[in-house]
């Protein structure tokens, strides 16, 4: 049973059903898949399973490994003895869900403080950035962009940030925990704990009444949760993607929710009805970034497959595929109806537009490491991008020059 679990179940499980074969139950094994029964109890010599395990078998199982002669002999004698089944062994790992297991967080290594999230308030005056387990807020209305707040989420790397439309609330997502802060006083307002994994994306509805969060363990099904703000009353939750949700956007009228996942899919949802409207397929890797145009008609998506796709929201039709990036794209934002800002793992920020399919129309250089997240001012004049080195890099679009970084080397921060 342990051999089956460790060598077969990753593919022959009820979700993947490779070759239409599910090896969870004895009945499933006897019923078999596309090629007939996987095994015939008592007759190892006539069992497909044993044949497929041989060194020179075609198809060969497992596809990327070779069981040792001893292991095969063990399986043979087990089949010959009647293939006694113990389903508990096969399903055991699934039962121990990590939600039931508390995971204490230890202090982060001193060198680890990536800027995974960035959020610009709608009045354009405040920029919030994550930095490891800290959140820094800068005042953009002053030329020297002073650091006005420093919030701490002890040992918990901040994965996502969002301002409410009125700037009253700042929400931050960490590991199994979501925090709501008063945007002015920086006082913690509330906390939602007890989630299963990292809170990978966050957004407020335009009315500021609902907080939408995506969360889940990596490589496991991911959920979308809706909470009422500020009392954190749960409104709804549902499983939305088969793997982590890496981006989440809400349309200006609050009716449409777009999500993108490590399962290579982009999905559109009717937010008030919490109903799936469409699956946008086409990406060949995890989708990291989404951007909805200001008028809500265009959706841009990009990710690990390095391709930037533009979709018509109404028809769900893909209108463009741009190959303007040499490395995975981490975030996207519309600058104007024709221009997209992107951040990329090669450390560059770029402008891309449908008119130039293979070359970025502008590049912004100077960041020393992978860029994770991007923001652009409403007037399209300033660009902000969060970097692995713990800084946000700032460019003015007009000059294309690196203006500086946040925090600056002179700004004292706790870490």
């Amino acid at each position: 049973m342990t051999l089956l679990r460790e060598n077969c179940l990753a593919c022959h499980n009820p979700e993947k059903r490779k070759g239409k074969l599910v090896l969870i139950s004895r009945a499933g094994a006897l019923k078999g898949g596309e090629n007939g029964p996987a095994l015939i109890a008592g007759k190892s010599a006539q069992s497909h399973m044993i044949a497929a395990l041989a060194d020179d078998a075609d198809p060969h199982m497992p596809p990327k490994g070779q069981l040792t002669p001893d292991e095969i002999a063990l399986l043979k004698s087990w089949i010959d003895a009647g293939a006694i089944w113990d389903e508990a062994v096969l399903t055991a790992p699934k039962l121990v869900s990590s939600t039931t297991r508390p995971i204490p967080l230890r202090p982060l290594p001193a060198t680890y403080h990536p800027v995974l999230a960035i959020a610009l308030s709608s009045d354009q005056k405040r920029l919030a950035m994550s930095r490891g387990d800290h959140i820094l807020v800068f005042d953009l209305s002053r030329k020297d962009r002073p650091l006005t707040l420093e919030l701490v989420t002890p040992n918990d790397v901040v994965q996502s940030l969002a301002w409410s439309g009125d700037g009253r609330w700042l929400a931050s997502g960490g590991f199994r925990r979501l925090r709501l802060w008063d945007g002015q006083s920086a006082n913690p307002v509330g906390e939602i704990a007890g989630l299963t994994g990292r809170v990978t994306a966050l957004a407020f509805t335009p009315d500021g009444q609902t907080l939408v969060a995506a969360e889940g363990e990596a490589a496991s099904p991911a959920m979308v949760h809706l909470w009422h703000v500020p009392d954190a009353q749960p409104i709804a939750s549902w499983t939305a993607h088969a793997d982590s949700i890496l981006a989440l956007k809400i349309s200006g009228d609050g009716t449409l929710l777009a999500t993108a996942g490590a399962d290579k899919l982009v999905k559109l949802w009717d937010l008030p009805a919490r109903k799936e409207l469409a699956k946008l397929e086409g990406h060949a890797g995890p989708v990291m970034a989404l951007a909805l145009s200001a008028d809500g008609t265009q959706l841009a998506s990009a990710g690990a497959d390095k391709e930037l796709k533009i979709w018509k929201v109404k028809t769900r039709e893909q209108t463009a595929a741009l190959t303007t990036h040499p490395d995975p794209v981490t975030d996207l934002a519309w600058v104007d109806p024709k221009t997209l800002l992107s951040t990329c793992e090669d450390g560059l920020a770029r402008f891309s537009s449908e008119s130039s399919k293979e070359r970025a129309t502008r590049t912004f250089t100077g960041a020393p490491d992978v860029l994770y997240c991007a923001a652009v001012s409403k007037d399209g004049k300033m660009i902000y991008a969060g970097c692995h080195d713990g800084h946000v890099y700032v460019w003015s679009v007009a000059g294309g020059k690196l203006e500086g970084k946040l925090p600056t080397d002179e700004q004292p921060v706790k870490r």
Binding site: R5, E6, N7, L9, A10, C11, N13, P62, P63, K64, G65, P93, S98, I103, P104, L105, R106, P107, L108, P109, A110, T111, Y112, P114, L116, D133, N155, D156, V157, Q159, F175, R198, T200, E217, A218, A219, S220, S244, L246, A262, K264, A284, G285, P286, M288, A304, P328, T330, E345, D369, V370, Y372, H388
Partner: protein
């Protein structure tokens, strides 16, 4: 023959008997490594072997008892594992059956506990198979996670692990929750199965590395410089086992026992296989093999020799004729393996073999008769000299090099390919020194319709394509892998590849380029001063400066063609790449198998079967001014070349030590010419003058079922073209049933008709045909059978002669060179 074999056996028995009695007296132990510098906390296994009087290595590590003179500095436990405790020096002693051997260990303070991604973590992931070609190192990665093949690009692997998808694979606040650990331990589903056991040492190391904040490397981290496998070479008894040790050597002089992290592959699994722990299990066949140990892109090999059961007496080898240095080198090898060479071949076998090999044609009956009657003891050497003066020599050898150099005429243009062919044939007619031949190719300039070698650069247009080609054909190194990633079984990196390519960066072309399928116009190839082209490294984007393999980076005057520096290097007397590759190729043509095989695949993991012979041939070739005819003469006048193709009891399984002549099928063109010569006809070859021979064909696109059946190069393939050397059913059927071939036999102007019409007796006809086909006289029983064809009912002289020609063509003795 039988008498001689019996003598061998008797002597062999005496020899092994005497060595057995010496065993008890001399136990000599060896230990490896003899000394080691270790960091406190590190462990190092060492291996104790006993060499017996016959030179066999026997692993006795498991039997030995160990002690340390300073257990506070380092302890040693059974199994030979030393554990470094605290700084200082210690001496270890291993004792087996009263014999002892010592090893010194010096222990340095432990470095600060900071793990390095390239030195500590990547090896674990490689060993777990994460970056195998079928898994996360596929071009598109697996499930969004992509690693470089065999960890050739640790920086990009680091980014994929630490930073991709906003760092979702690592979780420093709770390292065990990192996807990097949850997937391979099957805590979550993993298509690649169980790759890492929870709480195993590798698991703990990766966990600690994440806890430390996933450091890449600190500035003072030593870099991996080399690996060394032990034993490098060993003689083993059948069914012996030998654990290998792999030591990584770092830039700061420290070493690390990486046996547990290395990969092992055996090249002759029947002879000796190797398990995943690096333990060699010798099989029950005599022979030689290598086991390749691979660690982080570096490769080392352990050579394994398993002699035959009988050791043959030295006197046997002492009595063998030595015509030149080839013979002594081959006998040395055979002696080690316990193989006796076949006998010397007969004169008639020799003249047929030498003619087919040197000029690609069967000897004529008169030549055979004269040779068989020649009493001169030097008649074989003189025959070789005569053959090398034969005009067909040039066509035959130019045709062989045509396979390697000749582009597809439908791509590079018919006229261009013809121009190259003319240059090739002229070069072999003049016996152009081979270094000059290659220099003319490397420095080719001018018109593709006038200057033959330029055509190669018309066909191969990118510096990277030229690099692949030149390195494989002239240096015997398949660099192709290093175009995209570090060569998996060799030391060659992408740097090596693109630095070599940089010699061709400033090549200029003028005129019309390739316009397949005609490519009718000429193109001009050359170098224009001041227009330096750039070859960039595909990963770093860095502009590469030219550098030859294993050489220094060149500084090239921008007014000079960088190819000049490469051409000068090729024929530098100390450049053994070129000479070895060339002699090996020629040796392979004449002996049926390269000393390195395949002939253009030199690498540490594919060692020569006889390194001393290869080097001796290369040095002799260099000393004689890269004279191909001298090389061919040297090989063909050796005693080894004269050996019979009939095996004896001692060499029947030998296929690589040249203890007998390996019989083989001649090339398609030679076979067709032989059929034409025997039938007394010519072949109408498209684009060639009437009466031309198939070895003069310069265009593999001309129609010929015969040449297709007998494996001429695929006309659409890029050079260098592999020929299919195997025998096939198609060939047999073609020789039996082809109507074209029947037409040749029945041709009114052909030999069968001419002989039938002549006044010769049937005996004379049979003799003439045997001399033509086999270069020998028929035996009396063969004569009797042949004559019965003439006496048969309904037979005429014509039909009987035709039947006899048909029968000869369809015999193995005709089809093979033996």
């Amino acid at each position: 023959m039988r008498h001689i074999l019996l003598t061998f056996c008797a002597l062999g028995f005496v020899a092994s008997g005497s060595s057995a009695s010496e065993h008890v007296a001399t136990i000599s132990l060896a230990v490896w490594p003899e000394s080691a510098t270790l960091n406190a906390g590190a462990a190092q296994r060492f291996s104790v072997t006993r060499a017996d009087a016959d030179g066999f290595a026997i692993d006795v590590t498991g039997k030995a008892s160990f002690s340390s003179d300073h257990p506070d500095v380092a302890t040693v436990e059974s199994g030979g594992v030393i554990r470094a405790k605290s700084p200082g020096s210690a001496s270890m002693t291993a004792t087996v059956d009263g014999a002892t051997v010592h090893m010194s260990v010096s222990v340095r303070p432990a470095p600060p506990d900071s793990l390095s991604f390239p030195n500590d973590i990547m090896p674990l992931l490689s060993r777990a198979g994460c970056n195998a070609g079928a898994c996360h190192a596929k071009p598109a990665g697996q499930n969004g996670f992509k690693l470089s093949v065999f960890a050739y690009d640790p920086k990009s692997d680091y980014r994929a692990i630490v930073k991709d998808a906003r760092g979702r694979r690592v979780f420093p606040a709770a390292p065990e929750e990192s996807l990097l650990l949850r997937k391979p331990t099957l805590t979550v589903d993993h298509g690649g199965g169980l790759r890492l056991k929870k709480d195993s040492q590798p698991y703990q190391l990766i966990r600690r590395w994440i806890e430390q904040g996933m450091p890449y490397a600190s500035k003072d981290d030593p870099t991996l410089a080399a690996i060394e496998v032990h034993p490098r070479e060993g003689r083993y008894h059948k069914l012996a086992t030998q654990p290998l040790l792999v030591l990584a050597k770092y830039s700061d002089g420290s070493t690390r026992d990486v046996t547990a992290l290395a990969d092992f592959v055996a090249n002759e699994k029947e002879m000796a296989r190797v398990d995943e722990n690096g333990v060699v299990h010798v099989g029950d066949l005599p022979g030689e093999g290598v086991v390749i140990a691979r660690y982080m892109g570096l490769v080392d090999v352990s050579r394994i020799t398993v002699p035959a059961d009988q050791t043959l007496p030295d006197s046997l080898y002492a009595t063998l004729p030595v015509n030149n240095f080839i013979d002594s080198n081959v006998y040395d090898r055979l002696k080690r393996l316990g193989i006796a060479p076949s006998e010397r071949c007969t004169d008639w076998e020799f003249i047929r073999r030498a003619s087919l090999d040197a000029i690609g044609a069967l000897p004529k009956p008169d030549e055979v008769k004269a040779f068989l009657n020649d009493p001169d003891p030097d008649r074989r050497a003189k025959l070789v000299d005569r053959l090398l003066q034969n005009p067909l020599y040039a066509d035959h050898w130019a045709n062989k090099w045509g396979d390697l150099l000749r582009p597809n005429p439908f791509r590079a243009g018919v006229k261009s390919v013809y121009t190259l062919d003319q240059w090739l044939r002229a070069s072999f007619r003049q016996n152009k020194p081979f270094d000059q031949f290659v220099r003319e190719i490397l420095l080719a300039r001018g018109s593709t319709h006038r200057d033959g070698p330029t055509v190669i650069f018309r066909d191969r247009r990118e510096p990277a394509d030229i690099t692949t080609f030149i390195s494989q054909v002239f240096l015997g190194v398949r660099l192709e892998c290093a175009r995209c990633h570090h060569h998996p079984n060799e030391k060659w990196s992408q740097d090596d590849f693109y630095q070599f390519a940089a010699f061709f960066g400033s090549l200029k072309r003028k005129g019309q380029g390739i316009s397949a399928p005609i490519s009718g116009e000429a193109e001009f190839i050359g170098f224009a001063p001041g227009t330096t082209g750039e070859v960039r490294h595909p990963v770093t984007g860095q502009v590469m400066r030219p550098r030859v393999l294993d050489g220094p980076v060149e500084t090239i005057d921008p007014n000079r063609d960088p190819r000049e520096a490469l051409a000068a290097w090729i024929s530098q007397p100390d450049n053994l790449f070129f000479a070895r590759a060339t002699v090996n190729r020629v040796w392979g043509e004449l002996m049926g198998r390269g000393i390195v095989h395949p002939v253009d695949d030199f690498r540490a993991s594919n060692p020569p079967t006889n390194p001393a012979l290869l080097d001796a041939l290369a040095k002799d070739f260099i000393q004689h001014g890269y004279d191909l005819k001298h090389l061919i003469r040297t090989i063909m006048t050796s005693h080894v070349y004269e050996l019979s193709s009939i095996p004896n009891a001692y060499n029947v399984r030998d296929t690589r030590n040249f203890s007998r002549f390996y019989r083989r099928r001649p090339a398609a063109e030679v076979a067709l010419d032989a059929v034409c010569d025997l039938t007394g006809t010519t072949e109408n070859l498209q684009g060639l003058a009437p009466g031309s021979r198939a070895v003069q064909v310069w265009n593999n696109r001309l129609d010929s079922d015969f040449l297709d059946a007998f494996g001429r190069p695929n006309p659409s393939a890029d050079p260098p073209c592999e020929r299919d050397r195997d025998s096939s059913v198609v060939q047999a059927l073609h020789l039996m049933n082809s109507t074209r071939l029947a037409g040749k036999i029945e041709n009114p102007a052909g030999r069968a008709t001419q002989l039938a019409k002549s006044t010769r007796t049937p005996q004379e006809i049979v003799t003439e045909l045997y001399l033509s086909a086999y270069a020998r006289y028929p035996t009396s029983s063969e004569m009797a059978i042949a004559l019965s064809a003439y006496a048969a009912k309904d037979a005429t002289r014509q039909t009987a002669t035709e039947d006899l020609v048909w029968a000869l063509i369809n015999s193995a003795e005709f089809v093979f060179n033996h």
